[in-house]
Amino acid sequence: MDAVTTLTIFVLAVFIGFEVVSKVSSTLHTPLMSGANAIHGIILVGAIIVAGQAESIGVLVVALIATLLATINLVGGFVVTDRMLDMFSGRASGRKAPEKKGEQL
């Protein structure tokens, strides 16, 4: 990828990222954070590429550690988000999502 293409993709993705979550209700802050957290677990793809091209045992070990960590991020992230949303469903349905400001200690 040349620099300009990379920059183009980057800038467009930034705008999409801003746009898709711009109207999130405060009820969903935590699950949305958790879901986004799961998505960056896709670094697993990078870890697989590096592990798949490893030629020495040292590189392979480090790459496999990366693979392990990335898998935990990816799988755990989606599962825990699903559980979170499961807890909110039932209670959240039928009631208007609160959009009040302020939390307290």
Binding site: T6, H40, G52, V62, T67, L68, I72
Partner: protein, 457 residues
């Protein structure tokens, strides 16, 4: 295996990236949230299958085995984790993601050919390790392995500045020479910077910091996409980085805080958990026995739970106390504020965990008229949600926020750890009213003492 031509692989990555965009959009609305999460997971599966089919991947048994082990660790933990521990689990997942990105970039250092990818590599290693160690500290704070209050030491800003300068210097060396020593220095300094960044943050603000570190990890994944020349990583990482930034700001403003204030507040000497000046006006503090007498001879008690109850893990003791009062024919209900706690809906789930009957949990509109007839409003670890300033003082950060009308009760009892103001960082006038008494201490300890005193009445 190279069964997929590069064009097909690129097309499938595009499908996966679209899934991620739809996932984020779905997660932004209650109706589609669960479906959104599933779409995201589908995208991830498509992407992982694509990488196996489109590239020459050696060491296949090792890789597949590692993925299996990782899934077997992560899935059961995520299924079994208690609701109150979910925020720290998310922090941990975020940290390992950042760590994985840093390791991937580290291994790519020898393959860097251009300055451009060198910069991306150094960025990934640095920010990935910041995210990793920072998330570990947030995990430790939320799990209460270390104190949740802001931890600062003299000269912290200087140390932080030195660490960042050192990291920047190492990054330059990494880009110029790719020396292994500089790479390791960058990794170590990044880890140190993550610790220094999060230690001064007060426990109450940690969720916002998790969100911020989440955005950081997103950006590292995007940078690792540049390093590896993988468009999907670039797009997915950028999406998370951008949406995470918006989300961090939204969370901070929903709590009446600014992101910069949280990160830098502690460096300036003020506690980020409430930086307003604490006045020295007297409050009426009392003993557990006195509170027990107030409660034990009341006819109606309304409990207002807040974050303090959740951090102290006091929901079971609270439920026991309520039961003990009910056994004395006292009417006990809970007034639930919709933004009490750290997760939306936090208090409902928390009290449900302690098997509090659902009909005892009253929403704000339902419970507010009842405070007038209540003998005692028992405010456990809540503050801003009962602060009359929201109604009376124009210009207050919480002005206009609907509050629970605890001030209308004949007696108000606060269980508080200290006089520290709530999230909004403003004093609660209610604390100084003549009908108010305060019992200082950890919510769980205080409630246990009150409970045994009530039983002894």
């Amino acid at each position: 295996m190279n069964v997929l031509a590069p064009e097909w692989a690129a097309a499938l990555y595009l499908v996966a990236a679209s899934c991620f965009i739809l996932a984020l959009r779905g997660l932004s609305s209650p109706k589609s949230a669960r479906r959104g999460n599933l779409i995201g997971a589908t995208g991830a599966v498509i992407a992982v299958i694509t990488v196996f089919l489109s590239m020459k991947i050696d060491n296949l048994p090792w890789i597949l085995g590692t993925i299996a082990v990782g899934s077997l660790i992560a899935a059961p933990v995520s299924r079994k984790v208690k609701m109150t521990q979910m925020p720290q689990l998310v922090a941990l997942f975020n940290g390992v993601g950042g760590g994985a990105a840093a390791l991937v970039a580290l291994l790519e250092v020898p393959h860097n050919t251009t300055v451009w990818s060198g910069i991306a590599t150094a960025f990934t290693i640095l920010v990935g390790s910041v995210s990793f160690s920072g998330s570990c500290i947030t995990f430790a704070k939320l799990q209460e392995l270390i104190p949740t209050r802001p931890l600062t030491f003299r000269g912290q800003p200087v140390v932080m500045a030195l660490v960042l300068a050192g990291a920047l210097a190492s990054a330059v060396v990494v880009v110029m020479s790719g020396s292994l020593l500089a790479v390791l220095a960058l990794l170590g300094l990044g880890l140190a910077a993550g610790v220094l960044l999060v230690l001064p943050v007060g426990g109450a603000d940690v969720p916002i910091v998790i969100s911020l570190l989440n955005a950081f990890t997103g950006l590292t994944v995007a940078a690792s996409g540049v390093v590896l020349g993988n468009v999907l990583l670039l797009v997915a990482g950028t999406l998370v980085g951008a949406s995470g930034t918006i989300l961090t700001r939204a969370m901070a403003s929903a709590m009446g805080r600014s992101v910069a204030g949280i990160i830098f507040g502690a460096f300036k000497g003020g506690s980020t958990a409430g930086s307003a000046t604490v006045s020295d006006r007297p409050v009426r503090s009392s003993s557990a026995e006195d509170v027990a007498i107030l409660l034990g001879y009341a006819q109606k008690v309304i409990v207002v739970p807040g974050y303090g109850l959740a951090v102290a893990q006091a929901q079971h003791v609270m439920a026991e106390l309520a039961q003990a009062l009910k056994d004395r024919d006292i009417e006990v209900v809970y007034g639930i504020h919709s933004v009490a706690g750290r997760m939306p809906g936090h208090m409902n789930v928390l009290m449900a965990e302690a098997n509090v009957p659902y009909e005892d949990l009253l929403e704000m509109d339902e419970v507010n008229p009842q405070f007038k007839t209540a003998d005692v409003a028992l405010v456990v670890g809540a503050n801003d949600v009962v602060n009359p300033a929201a109604k009376t003082s124009v210009g207050s950060p919480i002005y206009g926020m609907p509050i629970l009308d605890a001030a209308a009760a004949r007696q108000v009892v606060f269980l508080k750890r200290s006089m520290r103001p709530g999230f909004a960082g403003i004093e609660n006038e209610l604390l100084f009213e003549p009908q108010t008494t305060v019992l200082f201490g950890d919510a769980k300890e205080s409630l246990s003492k009150v409970l045994s005193s009530v039983r002894a009445l």
